[in-house]
Structures are given as C-alpha cells and as structure tokens.
Assembly symmetry: C2
Homo-oligomer: 211 residues x 2
DNA sequence: CAAAATTAATCAATCGTTTGATTAATTTGC
DNA sequence: GCAAATTAATCAAACGATTGATTAATTTTG
C-alpha cells in the first residue's frame, strides 16, 4: 500500500527529527538514525537522497504543518491591540512549547550559519510570527494605547527570547523554577499557564498606558 | 622561553574557540583548527590530550577569566534594589555582548545535553549570575519596592533570554532592527546602548511600584 | 513477470589519534 | 665552561574507526 510507504517515511522523519534535535546535524549519524528507525541505512538515501536531504525533509514537513497554523489576527478591528496581543501570546506559548524538540533544532541551526540555504528558507517562516507581533504592537503604539517610547523590535526579541531560553536551556530553567520543565505533565500544568500569565503581565506593564 | 609556549597555547585556544563557536563541536575538525592556528595537528593532542580536552580547555580559560569579573553588589545596602538592578543590567549587557562568540558556544553546548560533565561544570558558573539577579529582585519584592505578584524566576529568564536571542539569532535580529548586529561598531554604538535602555525600562515597568 | 522496495556488502573520504623521527632547549657531570 | 645527557617541542606519515554514499543482489508487491 501507498499508506505504508508514507507511514514509513513519516516514521523515519520522526526519528530523524528527534535525533537531530538531540545530537545536532553533525553529531547524528545516518547509521544511528536508520538503526533507531529500524530501517536499512540505504533507505535514507533511497527516500531522501542524502543526509542533508533528510535534514531538509524534516524541516519541510514541519514548516508545511506550521503554515496552516499561522493566523492572521492583526487585521481584526473588533479587538483592541492589547486583546490581540494577549491572544497571540497565549496561542504562541501553547503552540511552541509543544514542539520544543523541533524548536531546539531550529534555534541551533540558526546559531550555526552553515547551510545558509536552509537559513534563508527558515527566515521568512519565522519572520511571519515576528511580523505578526510587530504589526499588533505597532498598532497599539499608533493608536495611542501603548507608550510612544516603546521599543517595538526589542519587545519582540523579549517574547521570542524568553521562550527560546526555556526551550534551549531547560536544565538551567529547571534549576531556577524548581521543577523539571522537560517533563510533559509539568510543562502542561505548571509552566505553560505560568508563562502565559507572566508574559502578559510583563508586556502589559511595559506597553499599555492606563492600567 | 615559557612565555612563547603559553602564547602558543593561548593562540590555539583562541582559534579553537572561534571555530568551535562557528561550526560546533562535531562540525569543527582537529585538522581545520590546527590548520587555521598554523600548528601541526599533533600539537593539539600533545598540549590538550584530545579534541575534547581542547574543548574543555577553551571553557576553562574563559571560566577562570569570568570568575574574577563576578561582582557581588547584592549586599550593598547603600543602593536601592532598583539601583542595583540597573547597575547589573548595564554591566551584564556590556560584558556579555562583548563575548558573543563564546556565549554562542555555551548556549549551543547546553542545548545539546551531550558532555554532561561540562554541563555540570558550566551550570554553577552561569547560576551565579542568575542568583545575583534573583537576590536583587527578591530584595526589591521583600522590601515592598517591587510588586508582590512579581514572577522573580521568569523575570530572570527574560533578562537572559532576550540577551541570548540577540546572540544566537543575529540574522533574525538584524532583519528586525534593520542593521547588522554582528558588526562590532554597530554593536557598540547602537545595540548596546539601546538594549540597556530597553531592558531597564522593561523591568522597571514590570517590577517597580511607584513611577 | 516486471517494478518497486529492501537488503548486505562495499566504497572512498574523513575523522581523531598515535607513532617514530628530528630538532631545539635545558640540565647535568666533570 | 663545555661536552654529554636529558627533556621538550615539532613534524610528516600512517593508524584504525567511522562517516555518508553506492552498488548489486534479493525480496516484496501489484
């Protein structure tokens, strides 16, 4: 069946994504990937052409699954800029924290600047989220809801930076918070709600004029 | 002379630090390091025992140079908690942004959890900075200067997260800010002052009660 | 049976490391 | 003080292991 083939490729991609995220591109060998996936090594090249092809494929799959998720709430005029921002923060925390394995992979790949072709492919994707936030914050500033001296761009680096720090340095963060943030249940019941509350209060006090 | 030997080892460490930061541990070959350093390959093993030994040595050197820089301003009672925090932000931005190459290396190494021995060695070092900030913020809360519902720990993840995001994703940040943040001059004249102002205003509005 | 999928075996290239030899510098013995 | 002995530094070459990739043979599938 065709289904089986797709399932198999998908299974390989699952394993590859995990191992790439854990060990990095160079650290992950095609043998370990094929071994963990339970397939012959040659199948990776048969399906994906090369190791780099497999790597790209991991990204393409996730990217296409992200594209459908990108919402455009910015043009909705029934909500205030702050209400939009609250919504974006909630959905962003919810969404990203559930893909931390892949996020880690993306961040590491961007910090190395090898594979500039991949960087160029990833940048516009990640930029859509950036621009989504930027549009909303800028709207708040323009309409006088947010402080005029707001540093819009750096405010965005704080949103992404705080999130990335938790994802990329879970060991440090776990020590700081006193519980294991890599634990799925804790992530869901403790970290996510706490992070949502925090991010909203942080940005509200920085941005919103009257409180 | 002994001086020459130390200089030579130091030169190798300089090159190794740069290449490790650029290409990652696995991506950096001993051949490329020795080649760029202009020394015979065998010298790396002669001096540092192994590739991993060289890697560790890069860290140890920087760590020991950091240790002397760690200030203890927390116990100074002549300044308010907010004044202390301002000072810490300024010096932290100043110091860290000038070592972005090494910082990148640290962050990537922590996101992979290989070499857990190195992680365990790095953690307490990085934690001293964390605890420095925590002590000050906690003091502000306890003395009623800062809001009672402050999330002290996540506030710290924001400080470090914002900084790391700029360091780890300079390509994205450059696109956002409209100038190349990896450029030394721009970093010094534009980014550093801007980041200091921003971080202080962000945390002031989140933390400090009367304004 | 033909096409696609899968396998084991093998490829050249590169990896980190080690070797034995050579040179330079330092210490020792008289 | 100066040859002899010892140590340290450096080198080219080669090591075995592992890498990603490919081949040719085999099995599965429709």
């Amino acid at each position: 069946m065709d289904k089986d083939k797709i399932d198999k490729k998908d299974h390989i991609l699952d394993v590859a994504e995990k191992i790439f995220a854990e060990q990095g591109y160079d650290g992950a060998s095609t043998r370990s990937i094929s071994g963990e996936a339970g397939v012959n090594m040659a199948m990776l090249n048969y399906y994906f052409g090369s190791k780099e092809g497999l790597f790209i494929a991991v990204f393409e799959r996730k990217i296409s699954s992200f594209r459908t998720l990108i919402q455009n709430i910015g043009n909705d005029d029934s909500k205030s800029a702050w209400a939009k921002l609250e919504w974006c923060i909630d959905s962003y925390v919810e969404r990203i924290m559930s893909n931390s394995c892949f996020q880690k992979l993306v961040n590491r790949e961007l910090s190395l600047n090898k594979r500039s072709d991949l960087t160029e492919k990833l940048t516009p994707i990640l930029m859509t989220n950036v621009l989504e936030f930027k549009k909303i914050i800028q709207e708040g500033v323009d309409k006088g809801l947010f402080y005029e001296d707001t540093d819009v761009e750096l405010a965005i680096t704080t949103i992404f930076g705080t999130k990335n720090y938790i994802i990329n340095s879970p060991h440090m963060v776990s020590l700081m918070l006193g519980y294991d943030v890599t634990n799925e249940a804790i992530m869901e019941t403790q970290l996510k709600p706490r992070l949502k509350i925090y991010m909203k209060r942080l940005l509200k006090s920085y941005l919103v004029k009257q409180q």
